[in-house]
């Protein structure tokens, strides 16, 4: 299967060879554009498949088939939904803040695209191999809070404002356990670069060494993406649709795509940092990557369709009084572990 692993690299080398100097700035520019288009394709395809998978899993938990009319067993449903959304009237509320209202969906979809650019999808398949990989990811995902607030404020609706305020409170509270959970892995590998972190897991995935950090990261990640049981930002039963109440047609579709893109990004980072990235026997690297990400996303959906929603003060209590101390405890234990490891195994210094 190494041939399949090498295949994208040989295609890349062939495209570079089309230029006179394979390392000229034009070749680099061409490769970057191709990488960008591929990342866009990945996020759009992921969002389309995931929206349908969500509805199917929802059906399976209550012994129904989910959408099963369009396409083979219903798998073309999202294409029909997207076409329908494009045909809807674009309504902007009269007193809404027009610029804020219109730019918010672009943020929500643009930010996951930016974060997906630094993740290694396979051997040598990193669109942009930043030295600051994980730090960049955390910085970008912190900005997505602003997008929800823009949507909530710009809609000029009380329901939207409530949803926007809840979004801010929730997302900034769960950023901190998220970051501290990932800090444990960074302490072990001593680098931010994502491809180096994946290479460091050649023998043992970090979930074995950092199980608590994985759990904290997963829970905080679900909260960051606003999925149940932390979905009170868009709580259907109380504030109709939260910040998305006044959005129609394709704008709302962009929000939806952005949410699933975010889910994909959070799972991809979990796979990279804790589950060994693209490494695995037999199958090519990129197949393993998508398989592992898919399993994590399935677990997220399984959790969503089982649990009821948390109340806002329970949510904050959980973030600040439970997850944060556990994450700090994890850092202390990791530090102790590294120190003891350095003492016991001679020759490992620095």
């Amino acid at each position: 299967m190494d041939a399949l692993n090498q295949l994208p690299l040989s295609i890349a080398a062939a495209i570079r060879g089309l230029f006179g100097d394979p390392h000229s700035i034009w070749a680099d520019l061409a490769m970057d554009i191709i990488a960008f288009i591929l990342v866009l394709l990945i996020i759009v395809a992921a969002a389309l498949i995931l929206i349908l998978l969500e509805r199917k899993v929802a059906g399976w938990t209550s012994q129904r088939p989910g959408p099963n009319r369009l396409g083979p067993r219903g798998w073309f449903q999202t294409i029909a939904d997207a076409l329908k959304l494009m045909g809807k009237e674009d309504v902007t509320p009269a007193q809404a803040d027009k610029w804020v209202f219109k730019i918010a969906p672009m943020f929500i979809l643009g930010l996951p695209v930016m974060t997906l650019g630094v993740i290694p999808y396979g051997k040598g398949l990193v669109p942009v191999d930043l030295d600051l990989g994980i730090f960049y990811f955390l910085g970008i995902s912190a900005v997505s809070t602003v997008a929800f607030l823009m949507a909530g404020w710009g809609s000029n609706s009380k329901y939207a404002l409530l949803g926007g305020m809840r979004a801010v409170a929730q997302m900034i509270s769960y950023e901190i356990p998220l970051i501290f959970a990932l800090l444990g892995v960074v302490m072990i590998t001593q680098t931010f670069r994502l491809s180096a972190i994946v290479d460091a897991q050649k023998t043992l995935p970090f979930i074995v060494v950092q199980p608590l950090a994985f759990l904290i990261y997963f829970i905080a990640g679900i909260a960051e993406v606003n999925r149940a049981p932390f979905d009170l930002v868009e709580a259907d039963q109380e504030i109709v649709a939260g910040p998305f109440t006044e959005y129609t047609g394709l704008r709302w579709g962009l929000f939806f795509l952005g949410e699933y893109g975010n889910m994909f990004a959070v799972s991809a980072i979990a796979v990279t940092m804790f589950l060994g990235g693209w490494q695995g026997p037999l199958l090519p690297g990129w197949m393993w990557f998508f398989l592992k990400t898919g399993i994590l996303i399935f677990v997220m959906m399984w959790v969503r369709w089982t649990f009821p929603r948390m109340r806002i003060d329970h949510l904050m209590h959980f973030a600040w009084k439970v997850l944060l101390p556990l994450a700090l405890l994890n850092i202390v234990l990791t530090g102790l572990g590294i120190y003891i490891y350095q003492l016991l195994v001679p020759g490992i210094g620095g």
Partner: protein, 140 residues
Amino acid sequence: MFGKGLFKGMGITLKRMLQPNVTQFYPEEMPKLPPRARSSMALDPDKCIVCNMCANACPNQVIKLTGEKTEGSNRKTLISYTMDIGRCLYCGLCTEACNTGALVPSQEFENAVYDREDLLWDMMARAKQRKQNAPTGKEE
């Protein structure tokens, strides 16, 4: 241990995910309603003796029927029988009141129409339509 209920709930959902569907693929599979289901009413004009019990029993004046005396016997024959389904409660009191079994509940449930005028059912025409469909099987 905190969280035991959460894991039990997840176990229940996982178990149900692996079980077969309980839904019916409508309209390819039509549900089979029991014989007493009063989703609609059907009239057999030959059995009707124009006694007006159904019209009296109806809470909402849905049924209007007229008849004339046939010569030669003291029975009446039915001329017209209309039901204004828009006012109907689907309570079944009319079918219970019928002594001869002319008006019976029927199991057709796809009765939605687009125009308000189509809600005024001419029961004798519908009976004739049913008789035409019956020998060749239900085609509609």
